[in-house]
């Protein structure tokens, strides 16, 4: 980098945004104001300010991605707090844990050098998590994708997603011995399809789409046998059509995507409530606290984008989309600057996770594509989502630093 990016000015702007939106919350709930409101305000500002400051001292990598994410997180927490103060407070705790895990993941990438030699482990962990979900999973909102460990609900697919990126990076950019196996790439496709098939069985269509997206993107860049790209796309089309015919839950998504209005009271309820909220907001929104995001089911989770659009307007909605675009752009830039192929693919994969997931859920609540249940990374409420997203970000942060080509296999 010729010119070091100065992250001080945006850090101050972020600070300003938080102060402003927090004062709006204070104004809105002046009468019923509680100590926890102060707690959330002070906690949020301090946490974000100091973690940015720390990162600036520790890492010589790209400190912008963390700043972008802090903006997303701030919008998210403020909205969640406005919908439900309890959840807002909880989300703040998840954020604290998430930032801790961010640093942990960052150091793990920085100081551990054998990530590219763990292919078998990635496979075992992935299948293990799937098995765990199938055995212990509980059904929420139609999908079996949660397991409960010691009273804490975890969504294993969130973790598998990251493991998948490691698996693909290790295959394409790591140890060559796996690529020398006969028909290695076809075997890899079968493994990935088995993941997607298992997600289909769990009715977790959103995750299935992300897995497919990450794989297809990386396959497009790195496969030696270009015919496989077409094979992959062809199989996806066949699989999509078969899924539509075989599974009612897929059919419902498509029907309510094409025209939800006749089903406004049952299966089209969610998407139409989302559209009501977005249309209510207009350009500037109704104002924080002056809309009715509680009308949207899961407004703090899958539909947080609609809730934000209602109260902060589509200008903020567009802002969020642009923040994700910037995040993906920075992620790809990190990848292009990274000389080590394994870490390059890791950076690409993580950026694609953020990009594809945010596209699928925002596109879903806008009715641009069929709706599949997913969280909006960093913005939606949820421990699993926040913590794993920050782990992924920590990995991206780690890959933004220079790595020697030596010591690690490169392809």
């Amino acid at each position: 980098m010729k010119e070091r990016l100065n992250s001080k000015a945006p850090r101050k702007l972020l600070f300003l945004f938080e102060i402003l939106s927090l004062s709006l919350i204070f104004l809105f709930s002046w009468e019923g104001i509680q100590t926890e409101t102060y707690a959330i305000a002070v906690g949020l500002v301090l946490l974000i300010y100091f973690s940015n400051y720390m990162l600036g001292r520790i890492s010589k990598g790209d400190n912008y991605v963390f700043l972008i994410v802090c903006m997303l997180v701030s919008i998210g927490i403020i909205m969640i707090y406005r919908i439900s103060p309890d959840l807002g407070l909880k989300q703040l705790m998840w954020l604290a844990l998430g930032i801790a895990m961010f640093f942990a993941a960052y150091f793990a990438i920085r100081y551990i050098s054998f990530w590219d030699r763990l292919t078998p482990l990635y496979l075992v962990v992935s299948y293990g998590l799937f098995a765990l979900t199938l055995i212990m999973g509980t059904r929420t909102h139609g999908a079996i994708n949660w397991i409960s460990i010691g009273g804490v609900s975890v969504q294993p697919a969130e973790i598998t997603k990251i493991v998948l990126v490691f698996l693909l990076a290790a295959f394409y950019g790591g140890d060559e011995k796996y690529r020398r196996i006969k028909n290695a790439e076809i075997l890899l496709m079968l493994v990935i399809y088995s993941f997607i098939g298992l997600l289909f069985l769990q009715r977790d269509l959103g995750a299935a789409l992300i897995f497919f997206g990450i794989f297809s993107g990386l396959q497009y860049i790195y496969t030696q046998d270009r015919r496989l790209i077409w094979a992959n796309l062809g199989l996806a089309a066949i699989g999509g059509i078969a899924g539509y015919i075989l599974f009612d839950h897929v059919k419902v998504r498509v029907t309510t995507w094409l025209d939800p209005w006749p089903y406004i009271n049952d299966k089209g309820y969610q998407i139409t409530q989302s559209l009501f909220a977005i249309s209510e907001g207009g350009f500037f929104g109704t104002g924080l606290g002056r809309g009715n995001p509680a009308f949207i089911p899961l407004s703090y989770n899958d539909f947080i984008f609609s809730a934000i659009s209602e109260e902060m307007g589509i200008f903020t909605g567009i802002g969020i989309i642009m923040l994700f675009m910037l995040l993906v752009y920075r992620g790809f830039k990190i990848a292009l600057r990274q000389d080590n192929q394994f870490f390059r693919i890791l950076a690409l994969g993580i950026s694609m996770v953020f990009g594809i997931q945010s596209f699928i859920i925002i596109g879903g609540v806008l009715k641009v594509i069929p709706l599949t249940g997913l969280t909006l990374p960093f913005v939606s409420y949820g421990g699993s989502s926040v913590v794993t997203s920050f782990i992924a970000l920590g990995i991206l942060q780690g890959t933004s630093e220079k790595r020697g080509k030596a010591g690690i296999g490169n392809g």
Partner: protein
């Protein structure tokens, strides 16, 4: 650049395009679709606003208050001063059953949610008011009352319009319903086989019968054969099927003008066949068939068959039978264009929207399009005058005023004919155009509908000055 870099950038571009697509769609949605979504009766937010805001009032062209809201013991109440007189125009606004009419279309104005522009929104954020905006209509309360009286006991619709501006002066559809008690009587009203909830004037689809001959006549004029002499024998055989005249003895030799005055079926059926389906379809679609008329309340599209039809059907279409269906509003617009020298001024009900403080927030932008050549409209004017002067429409005649019009008696599945009259006056400088439809009246248009139209025209010319 090596191929890996290139491919990475391809994927990046693809992802960015995805995001740009989302931004584009979000903006498009907000600008063009949000309003309709917001007005959906299932949107719970409509009712939230309702509870906090005193709904605006609606006044007629003279300032007479037709409906307003007031606050009683902390609850807002909608007062319908003339209740069923405006049941289809103003419509209802019920928590359990949604909204209709102007209450629905202008809901966001009436609850002061203003138009969705950035500036208005900012103003609203800074200065929210607890009172909704008011609507000022083009309707004349006196004429509305008169029209309703004349139509009393009938089934059907009557509409009066200013053909030059498109202002709707009165609009009645019967049977109607009482808005104040609609909530309690919802089931009996909504399931009534006579469909009182339907605004027959804008949504009812009827066989037009002879009033459709106006469109066939346009075709004859365009072909340049209005003077050609036709021999009427009382019936004509088209493709093996006989179309008969009312009077089977035959009208003898006649040209377009004479055939129009006596409403000769055989003449117009044969002319329609000579014109062909394409020509007739083109004329009908120019005159708003097969499209929804943009209006302040819900409308349905009139129907002229698009796919090619058999010659018998084509002949029947030429006299407004067969598969042709029209809304009364549509045929009124056709005649209003004839009256206005070929220019159709699109119909509207709401002249201005005013803030509680009396400031005009939005006013109607008139839209006029040329649908007939001046030669065509002049010929039609003359012919329609002839109908009232000496043809089937003499019952619409007024002493000292030159009324022009066309009668229609439409056969339909019920066995009882629809009676139609559509016309305008005065001939030299049309100030009002009127359509009267009596559904399943079982009498001819000239006998049943024309006298009602006459009274509406007389009242309008005498009482509406501005």
């Amino acid at each position: 650049m090596d191929s890996e870099r290139k491919r990475i950038i391809t994927i990046l571009v693809a992802l960015c395009m995805g995001f740009v697509l989302l931004i584009g769609y979000l903006s498009y949605f907000q600008m063009f679709k949000a309003q309709a979504v917001r007005d959906n009766a299932y949107n719970k937010r409509l009712w939230i606003n309702e509870d906090n805001i005193l709904r605006g009032s609606i006044v007629d062209r003279g300032g007479e208050v037709l409906v307003y809201s007031e606050s009683r013991d902390g609850e807002t109440q909608r007062i319908y001063r003339y209740d069923n007189l405006y049941s289809h125009v103003i419509g209802y606004s019920l928590k359990d059953y949604g909204k209709s009419g102007l209450e629905r279309r202008y809901n966001s104005y009436l609850v002061n949610a203003n138009e969705n522009t950035a500036i208005n929104e900012l103003i609203n954020l800074i200065n929210p008011s607890g009172v909704g905006n008011n609507l000022s209509l083009t309707l004349d309360h006196g004429l509305q009352k008169k029209t309703r009286e004349l139509m009393n006991g009938k089934k059907g619709s009557a509409i009066a319009i200013n053909p030059k501006t498109g202002e709707i002066l009165s609009m009645v559809s019967l049977p109607d319903f009482r808005i104040e008690t609609l909530s309690e009587n919802w089931t009996s009203v909504s399931e009534n086989p006579d469909s009182p909830l339907l605004n027959r004037g804008t949504q009812g689809l009827y066989t037009p019968g002879s009033i459709f001959k106006i469109l066939t006549a346009v075709g004859v004029i365009q072909e340049g054969v209005p003077e050609a002499i036709y021999q009427c024998t009382g019936s004509t055989v088209i493709d093996g099927y006989t179309i008969r005249d009312f009077d089977e003895s035959g009208h003898g030799p006649l040209n377009l003008e004479q055939a129009f005055a006596v409403s000769c079926n055989t003449y117009f059926a044969d002319q329609a066949v000579a014109l062909g389906h394409d020509n007739l379809l083109r004329i009908a679609e120019t005159l708003l068939f097969n499209q929804k008329i943009g209006f302040d309340t819900e409308t349905n599209a009139s129907v002229f068959p698009r796919e090619s039809i058999g010659l018998t059907d084509l002949g029947a279409s030429g006299i407004g039978q067969g598969r042709v269906l029209t809304t009364p509003l549509n045929m009124l617009m056709v005649v209003s264009a004839v009256a206005n020298d070929g220019y159709m001024s699109m119909p509207y009900l709401v002249e201005t929207v005013q803030s509680p403080g009396g400031m005009t927030i939005s006013s109607h932008r008139s839209e006029s399009r040329k649908v007939l050549e001046i030669g065509e409209s002049q010929a039609l004017k003359r012919m329609m005058r002839e109908v009232v002067e000496s043809g089937t429409g003499t019952n619409a005649g007024i002493n000292g005023v030159k009324v022009a019009g066309k009668t229609g008696t439409a056969e339909n599945a019920s066995g009882n004919n629809h009676a139609w009259f559509v016309g305008f006056a005065p001939l030299e400088d049309p100030k009002v155009a009127v359509i009267v439809l009596l559904e399943e009246e079982g009498a001819s248009g000239g006998r049943a509908a024309a006298p009602i139209a006459r009274e509406i025209i007389k009242f309008a010319l005498n009482n509406i000055t501005n």
